[in-house]
């Protein structure tokens, strides 16, 4: 595979590129879904191909093919350079690449139980069992699914790096939907879209879907009769799963350097962050400490090297509430004058690698969910994301959760349905006054982060703990 990638790089250079890299990628994947005790879909996929980037002057070109032979590789390398040449018709300012070491290496993620080797019968029985159980427990619509990805990559750069990697990822989810007179209510476990990591099937076993099925079905039904989340301003405690979403949307995307530089302005939007204030801007309270750490074992955003060949690293993003770091690739880092962050990945061989979150997470504090509830006289606890919306500068957000509970005089009270909250990023984070401790630190994984054109689906990790926020507007309704 290295030879095919090398042929593509050589062809791109011969066609005029001043830098080129090529990635051969083989990805095997599997997904199964079930509803109400029946398997509805089983799909096994195998995709392979070559993607080539070429830099000509200050302009990039990218080309991809499914043909894996040296002739097609040279043709694709040439096409990447020719596409870059077309880009020079509307050129940008001078573009440099932040330096990275030249590396020859192989890296693999940890995996105890190869998820693709686990029998389909075992995996099918799991989904049939939990969806049948939730359905029998009263859920009109009970769904569950798992997904597995086994990805091998071979990267060659014109600077001399030759890096191979094998990354295995998997995870699962289940949900129960209750249908009322005028609305539906859903409970999910372990969260909306599921929980994923760079681990083997041991991750799915650890989730213990069967052990949570009855609770999930009962809570969905109970929500139909629960009182509506009241509207007002109150103290808000977020569970860990919702905190992961909060971090993803209002920190993770905001610190992407391509957004900050305006490269995503027309589609995904830009960012409220101004590079001139890197190192001085207050992002949140003193309790806010965020890192982007691609080295966390088992987390979904972990790898050995990014798709430019930059080694995985842990980058401080917010320290004691002050914004200190960004997510970057080699070109964006050079523009901003920061070291290459190693955060560039592509969704498949045929997608241009771009700045993506690694594991952007909140470091634990010294409190706990129990202590937060006990210290709250009047508030609401919300968990498990149901809806998410944030403006194109990543400031104004409105999130809905599946479930809420009233907090009165230090105790968790009645269940609340349709809980929502809204705020503006830095004001919200500035109000964070209690943060869960290391025992509650979970590496949540988001396997459906959309970005880019053509759309790419990224896998990102979000270590998170429960936290409390003061004076938050809740109960927004249409």
């Amino acid at each position: 595979m290295f030879d095919i990638a090398s042929a593509a790089v050589e062809a791109a250079l011969a066609a005029g590129a001043r830098y080129a890299d090529a990635r051969v990628m083989l990805r095997r994947s599997e997904m199964m879904s079930a509803q109400n005790g029946d398997v509805e879909a089983l799909r096994q996929s195998e995709g392979s191909g070559l993607g080539v980037r070429a830099l000509l002057g200050s302009s990039w070109g990218f080309s991809a093919t499914t043909e894996l032979d040296s002739v097609a590789a040279r043709r694709t390398g040439t096409q990447a350079a020719e596409t870059a040449r077309a880009s020079t018709a509307v050129p940008g300012p001078q573009l440099d690449l932040a330096p990275i070491p030249v590396v020859t290496d192989h890296w693999e993620s940890g995996c105890v139980e190869d998820p693709l080797a686990v029998s389909l019968a075992v995996k099918g029985d799991l989904l049939v069992g939990v969806t049948g159980g939730m359905h029998r427990a009263g859920a009109p619509v009970a769904q569950a699914s798992y997904q597995i990805w086994d990805t091998e990559k071979w990267l060659v750069t014109s600077e001399g790096s030759r890096i191979s990697q094998r990354i295995r990822e998997c995870g699962a989810e289940m949900s129960a939907t209750a249908v009322g007179e005028a609305e539906t209510q859903r409970r999910s476990y372990p969260g909306i879209g599921g929980q994923y990591g760079t681990e083997g099937w041991e991750l799915v076993r650890r989730l213990d879907l069967p052990g949570n099925a009855d609770r999930v079905a009962a809570e969905a039904q109970a929500l139909l009769a629960a009182p509506e989340c009241p509207a007002g301003v109150t103290d808000l405690i977020l569970g860990g799963e919702q905190m992961a979403l909060q971090i993803h949307e209002s920190v993770g995307h905001a610190i992407e350097l391509d957004r900050i530089l305006g490269w995503e302005a027309a589609f995904a939007g830009s960012s409220w962050l101004d590079l001139n204030r890197l190192g001085t801007l207050r992002y949140g309270s003193d309790l806010m400490n965020v890192t982007a750490d691609a080295t966390l074992p088992g987390a979904l955003g972990s790898f050995g090297y990014d798709d430019e060949g930059t080694p995985a690293q842990s980058v401080p993003i917010v320290v004691d509430g002050i914004w200190v770091g960004v997510l970057s690739g080699r070109d964006t880092a050079a523009i901003a004058g920061v070291p290459a962050g190693g955060m560039v990945r592509g969704d498949g061989f045929n997608r241009l690698p771009m700045v993506r979150m690694t594991n952007v997470g909140l470091l634990p504090g010294d409190s706990s969910l129990t202590e937060m509830i006990g210290a709250t006289d009047n508030g609401i606890l919300m968990d498990t994301n149901r809806s998410w919306s944030i403006d194109d500068k990543r400031l104004n957000f409105q999130f809905g959760c599946e479930i809420g509970w009233e907090i009165r005089h230090g105790k968790r009270g009645r269940m609340l349905r349709n809980p929502t909250y809204t705020g503006v990023g830095p004001r919200f984070w500035a109000s964070m006054d209690m943060v869960g401790g290391p025992d509650e630190w979970v590496f949540y994984g988001t396997a459906n982060c959309g970005k880019g054109q053509p759309m790419q689906v990224g896998h990102t990790g979000h270590p998170a703990v429960p936290a409390r926020f003061h004076g938050v507007r809740v109960g927004v309704r249409g």
Partner: protein, 444 residues
């Protein structure tokens, strides 16, 4: 490579591997998708993807499994077939397996343009250059995309379909210091795109948004541009007219109910005039016009073969690849235009807002279709029929069903515009609504 030949090779492999009693269906899609992105008024990303994608689904004694592959060489086809056959044999029987699509006539001709299929990076760069030049003095960002796909479907029941589709899209914004303006063009033919016109329109909008005021949240009369209306149509189609969601009680829609204003008619038609997209679905059902709302009354739903069989009707051709859990999903929606111009609709508004685009909309409850999102690329206060000044972006929380309820639709314009959506396309005009619920300003 001829996609139909590749389908036949796969079906032969299935028969050789699993015998003549195995049921199988295969889709092969090949072609080129190319996209040129620009930001800060220069091209910063420029990609070309030459792809071959294959999906085969095998059903043996009611047990089904699917496999996908990239590439059409014999080895890849063989691995995909073996994977599907072996996996199907260990699957539990599928009690709702609806069987394969029966033979039908040829699919309608898809939208196709040779010039678009042959479009080079230089053609796309030229359109971008026109857009960038037309916003002179402002910053430009957006993309120009051309796609040309050929596809075939065949199954062991004898259904064989071929189709092809090309699209060309130019979608961009002009960025003034405190406001953006957008413009988008989409067609089957790249020759229809006018970079300079799009750039000029975006620049006009951006410049008119300078110095916006903040507005108190509340319910306002609104005129919504085609981009906003496309968002309404997308969610109504995905969550509402979805036959599976209706069967499971997750949709508001009930056939025969007059849930919408009599001025509202909605349908899906990938074969319609000006539409783009392949002329058959993932299960080999040919596309055709399917009406969902006629004069305000719900009159039809989107089905794949599974939900159609359960409902005792025919598939409407809305199966999507990998969409077993979703059911039928419309991909070429239309809202019936009327005679007014967009300017007429604004002229009738005494006090309200003119909204260009929506952004980051999400459904809070699929049954009520209460949705939150923000405005983008231009919001303007209208007084006594005239735009009086720009307004800062607003957050809304609004039921999309109630937005089109009887009495709330005050007017529909004639300016229906083909718009690329997150999934598929929508051809929708500007509309005038009596009430839209804004719940806050974007600045908090």
């Amino acid at each position: 490579m001829n996609p139909l030949d590749a389908c036949d090779r796969v079906l032969d492999l299935v028969r050789a591997t699993a015998g003549d009693t195995a049921e199988a269906q295969v889709t092969v899609t090949t072609g080129t998708s190319a996209l040129t992105r620009f930001a800060n008024s220069f091209i910063h990303q420029n990609v070309v993807d030459n792809s071959v994608d294959l999906t085969v689904k095998v059903t043996i004694d009611g047990q089904s499994a699917s496999a996908t592959a990239t590439g059409a060489e014999s080895e890849a086809l063989g691995r995909a077939v073996r994977a599907a056959v072996e996996a199907s044999r260990v699957q539990p029987p599928d009690p709702a397996w609806p069987g394969l699509a029966p033979p039908s006539g040829p699919a309608p001709a898809g939208s196709w343009d040779e010039q678009t299929a042959a479009a080079t990076p230089a053609v796309r760069a030229g359109l971008v250059a026109e857009f960038v030049q037309a916003v002179a003095g402002l910053e430009a960002a957006g993309y120009c995309e051309t796609t040309a796909l050929q596809a075939a479907y065949a199954n062991t029941a004898g259904q064989r379909l071929e189709g092809r589709s090309s699209t060309a899209t130019l979608d961009g914004i002009a960025r003034a210091p405190a406001s953006d303006g957008s413009a988008r063009q989409m067609s089957a033919a790249v020759g229809d795109l006018r970079g300079a016109d799009a750039g000029a329109a975006a620049a006009r909008l951006a410049r008119s948004g300078t110095d916006p005021i903040d507005l108190e949240p509340g319910s306002y009369e609104v005129v919504l541009g085609p981009g906003c209306v496309g968002d309404l149509m997308l969610f109504l189609g995905f969550y509402g007219f979805n036959g599976r969601a209706v069967a499971e009680g997750r949709s508001f829609a009930q056939v025969g109910e007059a849930r919408f204003d009599p001025s509202v008619s909605i349908w899906d038609d990938a074969t319609g005039l000006g539409a783009v997209g392949l002329p058959f679905d993932a299960e080999g059902t040919a596309k055709r016009r399917v009406d969902f709302v006629a004069d305000g009354t719900i009159c039809g739903l989107a089905h794949d073969r599974r939900t159609a069989a359960a409902a005792g009707v025919q598939s409407t051709g809305h199966a999507i690849e990998g969409g077993e859990s979703f059911g039928g999903v419309p991909s070429s929606l239309f809202l019936r235009p009327d005679a007014a111009t967009a300017e007429d609709l604004v002229g009738r508004m005494e006090h309200g807002l003119l909204v260009t685009d929506f952004w980051y909309t999400r459904v809070l409850d699929p049954r009520t279709l209460v949705t939150t999102g923000l405005t983008r690329n231009g919001v303007f206060l209208v007084e006594n029929g005239h735009v009086v000044r720009p307004v800062g972006n607003l957050r809304f929380t609004q039921s999309y069903v109630e937005a089109l309820a009887p009495g709330n639709v005050l007017g529909i314009a004639s300016d229906a515009q083909l718009t690329p959506m997150f999934f598929g396309t929508c051809t929708a005009p500007t509309i005038h609504l009596a009430s839209w619920h804004f719940t806050g300003g974007a600045s908090g």
